[in-house]
Point group: C2
Chain length 187, copies 2
């Protein structure tokens, strides 16, 4: 969602387009454990993480927090479902570390969609990218053992190992925390 030169060029954004886009974004600061979004709310903002780390999660039947995604710096937080369709969010999004974002409100984003047609295209491609990411994630569960999923996590997110708890990672890769502890010892 950050408009860097490559994106601007790729989608043929004019200087005015970029200026208008920039004017819609505002900074947001969150302390660790602050919510960016809570289950049941309609997402008011989507945005880009410039600093820090957030995670999204849901609760399972036993009231355990199941982490569904991590948002470190330079990633987008696009709960398009809730944001675009104005429906209640199914997940919580909470800061793990003190974080800084650039966010845009629904009203402003709607303005961008209308005034800058390329924005529909950008968001189409973003949603497409997201869906491919999720296809890959599902495929990992489908085809990898718990050990392989952990190893894959380590290579894909080496930094997160230091920045969040084992329990959070365990729920993200769908493994019991005691089992994950043993997997780590074994490797």
């Amino acid at each position: 969602m950050k408009i860097d030169e490559n994106i601007a060029r790729h989608y043929n954004l004019t200087e005015e387009d970029i200026a208008l886009t920039m004017s819609g974004y505002v900074p947001m600061k969150l302390k660790a454990n602050d919510f960016f979004l809570q289950e049941g709310e309609v997402a008011d903002y989507i945005g880009f993480v410039t600093k820090g780390l957030l995670r999204s999660y849901v609760y399972d039947d036993f009231a355990n927090e199941i982490t569904s995604d991590f948002f470190p710096e330079n990633t987008l937080i696009i709960s398009f479902d809730s944001f675009n369709n104005r429906v209640p969010a199914k997940e919580y999004i909470k800061a793990i570390e003190d974080s800084e974002l650039m966010v845009i409100s629904y009203e402003k984003q709607k303005e961008l969609y209308q005034k800058i047609p390329a924005w529909n295209l950008i968001c189409r491609d973003l949603a497409d990218y997201k869906s491919r990411e999720m296809i890959e994630r599902a495929k990992k569960f489908q085809m990898m053992s718990a050990t392989e999923r952990y190893q894959n996590f380590c290579t894909e997110h080496p930094d997160l190992l230091q920045r969040t708890t084992l329990g959070t990672i365990a729920s993200y890769i769908g493994v019991d925390i005691a089992t994950l502890s043993r997997i780590r010892k074994k490797i």
Copy 2:
């Protein structure tokens, strides 16, 4: 991708828009076991299944076919990745039953994107929908046991139980076929 009245109204498509869209689509017939797309090819078509059933799959390290998705009638086959970005497909898409589709070529679809801006919006929403579907799929692996995944499959796709093999379903829900056979007996 089928332009029914609701879609036309929702996206404010004019009569001409609809006529132009329709003119881009052509029927395609596939016999059982024919490929709609093969790994390594760039997707020439996206389309809508009007009759029959297809599936997408990849190969794992042991040359087993791992089914990633089913496409029964009234579903879209949108390998947006390969289609939009002109990159080689990662999966095979093959007809399980004799099938009929309405498909559109890349060139024609590009024309629609340009001449009918709403098409970018439609595809944005389709990609968004797809990403949510995949998020749900990943979440099922993350939070459900093999038995629960099978039960969920039965309620979500009751018809497919009759229309494809156990082995195909087993790979789709990520369970060994012998295990799935036992799960079925137990239930």
